[in-house]
Structure formats: C-alpha cells, structure tokens
Symmetry: C2
Subunit: 110 residues, 2 copies
C-alpha cells in the first residue's frame, strides 16, 4: 500500500505538525506571509524558539521564506501543504461519530 520511503516522509511531516507551537506557527501562516517578529508576538513565543521551529518547517518544505528589507516573511510552501492543512481543519468543525471507547463485538460470531 505505502512504500517505506512514503511512510517515513509522511510521518516526518506529521511529526513536525505534531507539536502545538509548530502547528500554530504553520496555521498562522495560512492567512498570508508573516515575518518572524509578527509570528513571535502573535503567538507569544520567544524569538529564538520561533526561529528554531521555522528552520525545521522550512527544511521540511512546509514553509518557505522570503526576505523583504530586514524582515523575513514565512508562508505556506505550496498548494499541497495548504490543501492538506485546510482539509484537516475542516474536519475539526464537522460532527464526530461517537463509538464506544472499549472493545466492541464485530458482527456475527456463531
């Protein structure tokens, strides 16, 4: 179904988005390019921490960086990333099917 490389690549992407601060950074870039300072103040994180995270996100091609003057603006890398994120976020709003949390019987068992 999935090759090992595909699995590792996909997992790596998930892993990066699996950290709340990093996810916040990426999510905040959905509206449009943001400078490091803007992200820092908007999320209330330290400048150093934001920069470290940005490096990882940029290396993984989730974000891309563009300099304008002395500031550097980060934005969603491409259409794919944007699509995936908006898809995931859409799913947050939709209703949840509520199954039992324990083990349940699966169909017929004669």
């Amino acid at each position: 179904m999935l090759t090992v490389d595909q699995t590792n690549g996909l997992a790596e992407m998930f892993r990066l988005l699996g950290e709340p601060n990093r996810l916040s950074i990426v999510a905040s870039c959905l509206d449009g390019p943001l400078s490091v300072g803007a992200i820092t103040s908007r999320l209330g994180l330290s400048q150093s921490l934001v920069s470290h995270h940005l490096r990882l996100l940029r290396a993984a091609r989730l974000l891309k960086a563009g300099r304008r003057g002395k500031r550097i603006f980060y934005s969603i890398a491409d259409w794919h990333v944007r699509e995936m994120l908006t898809n995931m976020i859409e799913h947050l709003a939709e209703p949840h099917e509520h199954d039992e949390e324990g083990i349940m019987e699966t169909g017929a068992n004669p």
Copy 2:
C-alpha cells in the same frame, strides 16, 4: 483562527501519526479490519510494540477495536479519519512544486 484546544487536539493527532511504525499500523488498517497478530506479522514488529501503539491509537480514537473469537480486530475509527488519511496519501502521488530551498526575494523591493 484556531482555538488553543483545537490546536492541541489537532497536534495530538498529528503527533501520533508522526511515528513511522504507528503510521504504518494505521495505514495497514485502511484496507479493512486487522487482528493484532496480522498487523504484527505484516509489519514485522514485536507483538508488544504493536499492542502499545494500538492502545494509543485507540485512545485517540484513530482506531477502534472489535473482538471476534480470541482475536481482536482493529479498524479505522470513523469516516473522518479515513478521509483525512486518504487525502494525505493522495497528495503523496501528485507532483511537487519545486521552489528554492533557501531564502528568496518576495516581490518588489525598491
């Protein structure tokens, strides 16, 4: 844009899928319910490891469990999870836009 709870919840989900073995387990369940033993032998992981991961995935409502005889079958929890996963996997196949990896100029800068 996103509440703190939404962010944490989404990140938690990403975090779980961010581990290759766990992602493999979930992905293998896309075809249909699989017993623990089936997953174990299919992925070549230890039974204990698979069980530990399954507990996390079940707790996060990514997978659901159903007993049939002495075996317990795990399957994708609901339509949402299935949709998200298939969406992500679809994006793997589609072409990538290739941008520079470093910092690039962003539009006009007089």
